[in-house]
Symmetry: C2
Subunit: 158 residues, 2 copies
């Protein structure tokens, strides 16, 4: 388990990564910032990467894409599909980095109203193999920590 | 672990169920029987249920549905979405029983050519929680065992 401020990353069992993070903003603002592709482009991922493409068709069978670019011009592409209607209570999607095609995870996101205008985001990612889980666990932390720090700033401006 | 003839069901870790089964038919026939909705309707699930609706739009973002009916007329509906192109080497989809909405699993299927016209189907289902996994593990066995027995008969006729 790794704790950074109000962010908690856990890896219970062998196939899952759970991430829990509090935000100083109400549920509707957090949900908007996590589903509007123009807002997603401003916070998703580690700070040294720029999001140059974001699509987010958040309906059952809808797809999402994300392309990130580093300072040297290298690009990293991700994609997935949504399962079910996306609501603050429950959003579900698949996740694939096209640099390792076929290694796909399934993500659920729940937003909990903590009162006083605060929200807890609770994310569970499950992987088809423990090897896929371990590979992602080591690489996702900086992206999540820094991405959520940028999200904090965006939420203040909404 | 539970072994029935050539079927093996394992539950490694805490979030996954793996199913491995050999078929006396070549890969292309097994793949066709697992993707053609009219053929799926003839074998999927336990024998006491009749498949009254099957759709299978097997493309990235495509959806599938299944409705089963028991002898008393009760209906059980399932749905999901496909991730990526479906090939014999790798097919990926989400799975939800609408009787327990929101408890969604992610399934991968690989068909391996064993030679001599035989095929091994290797399926991994991962669940968001260990509780979901345990709940499904107890209820899916008869459906898988009996469904694959019906699939054996269909493969002989293709």
């Amino acid at each position: 388990m790794n704790v950074t401020d109000t962010l908690t990353i856990e890896t219970p069992g062998t196939h899952a990564i759970t991430i829990s993070r509090e935000f100083d903003a109400p549920v509707d603002k957090v949900f908007r910032a996590m589903t509007d592709p123009e807002l997603i482009a401003r916070w998703m991922g580690p700070k040294y990467l720029t999001n140059v493409e974001t699509t987010n068709d958040a309906r059952h069978g809808g797809t999402w894409t994300l392309v990130q670019r580093d300072p040297d011009g290298n690009e990293y592409a991700f994609r997935g599909v949504f399962h079910g209607e996306q609501t603050p209570e429950l959003s579900m999607r698949t996740f694939e980095w096209l640099g390792m095609p076929g290694h796909v995870s399934f993500e659920t996101l729940k937003l909990e109203d903590l009162g006083n205008g605060r929200t807890r985001a609770y994310n569970v990612s499950v992987f088809t193999s423990t090897e896929d889980r371990d590979g992602m666990a080591t690489s996702m932390e900086s992206g999540v920590v820094e991405g959520y720090e940028r999200l904090d700033e965006i939420l203040e401006s909404l």
